[in-house]
């Protein structure tokens, strides 16, 4: 369980995180989604006390991270930027981390096997591929058998096999009742892994909802209709809650009316349909739509709040 309450992080003039509040519950995989630079990593760093919040507070399993006597047993974290000395072997890296919590060789070997690094465990980490580095990061996170697992972009640099492996691992951890909090800037990946989503943009909460709800919330599900009698159909289905647009001749995009209903109306009036297709916005579309405001806001602000570019620059 992770609870963030009004988290703020300022770096000088810039505010990276602006009053984030959310809860990450045990038993499910929660995706932490946002465009690059939205403040995901900063938030994760604040959760484990690497960065001090400028305001607000965050607790893990009921206490601030640093308040736990054995923090690695509570929370395992893998940060996006590598956190390993390149001159040390994976085995010694894990041994040194574990030693702070009295975790010995046996558990180190166990997590090394779990992430499939046994053959390279005695080699210097500097020679590791990106994917091997990610696996070592995951091994470090699982070392203390923590109740809460936080992973920042865990599938970056993994091959398809590895991506699938991580997906299953995360689901497995959640199924054991653990809290799993995973960041990504890839909506499609989250759709396959996560059940719940916390979406942020420019350091602000955009959505805190289930994946299913998120798609519904973000997209106007529409129906694409192709018919040689399109103009006539358009007038027949018109109504107060229905919007119809047409970008090419003979094709209508209808929102506010289900495809079944459109089909019935067409049949009643003996209108020929070539195509009647419900369009479901993909998660990626939903994500883009959701975060668009955040991105637009940034752009307009940078250019001088809506002024013509030239004027904005000179005014600034």
């Amino acid at each position: 369980m992770i609870s963030a309450d009004g988290l703020v992080k300022r770096y000088g003039e810039k505010t990276a995180v602006k009053g984030l509040s959310f809860e990450v519950r045990p038993g499910i995989v929660t995706g932490f989604l946002g465009p690059n630079g939205a403040g995901k990593s900063t938030t994760m760093r604040m959760i484990v006390g690497l960065d001090e919040p400028s305001a607000g507070r965050v607790t893990v399993n009921g206490k601030p991270y640093a308040g736990h006597a054995a923090p690695l047993g509570e929370v395992g974290i893998m940060l996006e930027a590598r956190a390993v000395h390149t001159g040390r072997s994976a085995h010694n890296h894990l041994l040194a981390l574990g030693a702070t919590h009295g975790i010995g060789r046996r558990r180190v070997d166990e997590v090394v096997d779990l992430v499939g690094l046994r053959e390279v465990a005695r080699k210097r980490v500097g020679g590791f591929s990106l994917g091997m580095g990610q696996r070592l990061g995951i091994a470090s996170a699982l070392l203390g058998d923590p109740q809460t697992v936080i992973l920042d972009e865990p599938v970056n640099g993994l091959d398809p096999e590895g991506v699938r492996w991580v997906r299953n691992l995360l689901r497995g951890l959640a199924a054991e009742g653990r809290t799993v909090f995973v960041s990504s800037h890839l909506m499609s990946e989250m759709a396959l892994t996560a059940e719940h989503l916390i979406v942020i943009g420019r350091g602000e909460l955009i959505a805190d909802t289930s994946v299913e709800e998120f798609v519904k919330l973000a997209s106007n599900n529409s129906v694409r209709v192709r018919s040689p009698q399109a103009p006539r159909l358009r007038s027949l289905i018109a109504g107060p809650d229905v919007t119809v647009s047409s970008e090419e001749a003979g094709v209508l995009t209808v929102t506010g009316l289900e495809s079944d209903r459109i089909g019935v109306i067409a049949a009643e009036h003996r209108i020929t349909l070539y195509e009647l297709a419900p369009q479901q916005a993909s998660l990626e579309d939903a994500f883009m739509e959701m975060t668009q405001d955040a991105v637009e806001y940034r752009t307009s602000q940078d250019d001088g709040a809506g002024l013509p570019v030239g004027a904005g620059r000179s005014a600034a």
Binding site: R45, A83, G87, R88, H101, I103, R107, L114, N168
Partner: protein, 281 residues
């Protein structure tokens, strides 16, 4: 959640039913962790070996050359010769290796990102700095004291040919020989502190070399009246007072000088502790 049908057909990684006994973080455990860190880096072992060879070897070499040239040396040179000082000459070179190693013990973690792993394991942070200092300090003290003893006995052996040798029981000699180990340990700890203060290898090494090598030269440019007020209190000069059997002109008394250098090291470490605690990692 709906289990995807595909997943069941491929190998599902199973988190082993772990029998992990996770224990609270204690100073003893952090020390154990730092000891693993220190000994598991090849660069550390090599740098320490270099420091050892310089400390043990340079003094013997210098003594051998001196013994060889003794008959042709001027009376002034002969009068200024001290068999203990000659044996401990290596400290001037060894201190560079030890200081660099001290810096790297901390700055290496910042350079590689390892510090984030270290501080998530020990979120109270300060135990990491204390444990690093203790482990590195102890290893340096032991190895450099051994090197110093080797340098001393080796040098006396080669000086015997000209009957120039001294013994550990002579006045101030044992203190000087053991003092070399103490001096080098303090140099290393100042390196640790600078690494923590600056979090940057190049910057911290430059600063350390500046303090040890450049500062004394710069002070020499001042008029002697000012020079004599400052020079003995520079970190290097103060500590080196401990390495001389008899107190030399322009130096503090041995243990006074050592205390002054200890004060520098403590101040630097406290500064590093402050930065570690206050700044985001």
């Amino acid at each position: 959640m709906s289990a995807p049908t595909l997943a069941s057909s491929i190998e599902t990684p199973h988190v082993p039913a772990a029998h992990v006994q996770v224990q609270p973080v204690t100073m003893r455990r952090v020390l154990a962790s730092e000891w693993i860190k220190l000994r598991s880096l090849r660069s550390t072992r090599i740098t320490l070996l270099v420091a050892f060879l310089l400390m043990a070897g340079v003094g013997i070499l210098y003594s051998a050359v001196t013994a060889n040239q003794w008959s042709t040396m001027s009376a002034g040179d002969k009068a200024g010769f001290d068999p203990t000082l000659a044996a401990l000459r290596g400290h001037m070179f060894a201190q560079l290796a030890v200081g660099v190693l001290g810096v790297l013990v901390v700055s290496g973690e910042y350079a590689t990102g390892m510090i984030r792993a270290s501080l998530t394991a020990v979120p109270k942070r300060l135990p990491v700095l204390w444990a690093k200092s203790l482990v590195f300090g102890a290893v340096t003290l032991v190895t450099m004291t051994i090197a110093s003893l080797i340098a001393f006995f080796g040098a006396q052996a080669v000086l015997t040919s000209q009957n120039l040798q001294t013994t550990l029981s002579a006045s101030g000699v044992l203190r000087s020989v053991l003092g070399a180990g103490l001096y080098l340990t303090l140099v290393g700890l100042i390196g640790v502190a600078l690494g923590g203060l600056m979090r940057n290898t190049a910057g911290a090494i430059s600063t350390l070399l500046g303090v040890l090598l450049l500062l004394p030269v710069m002070i020499d440019l001042f008029p002697s009246s000012i020079r004599s007020d400052i020079s003995p209190y520079l970190p290097g000069n103060a500590g080196e007072a401990l390495l001389s059997p008899a107190q030399q002109a322009g130096y503090l008394a041995p243990w006074t000088g050592f205390a002054v250098m200890c004060a520098y090291a403590v101040a630097a470490l406290v500064g590093a502790a402050f930065v570690l605690k206050r700044r985001d990692a």
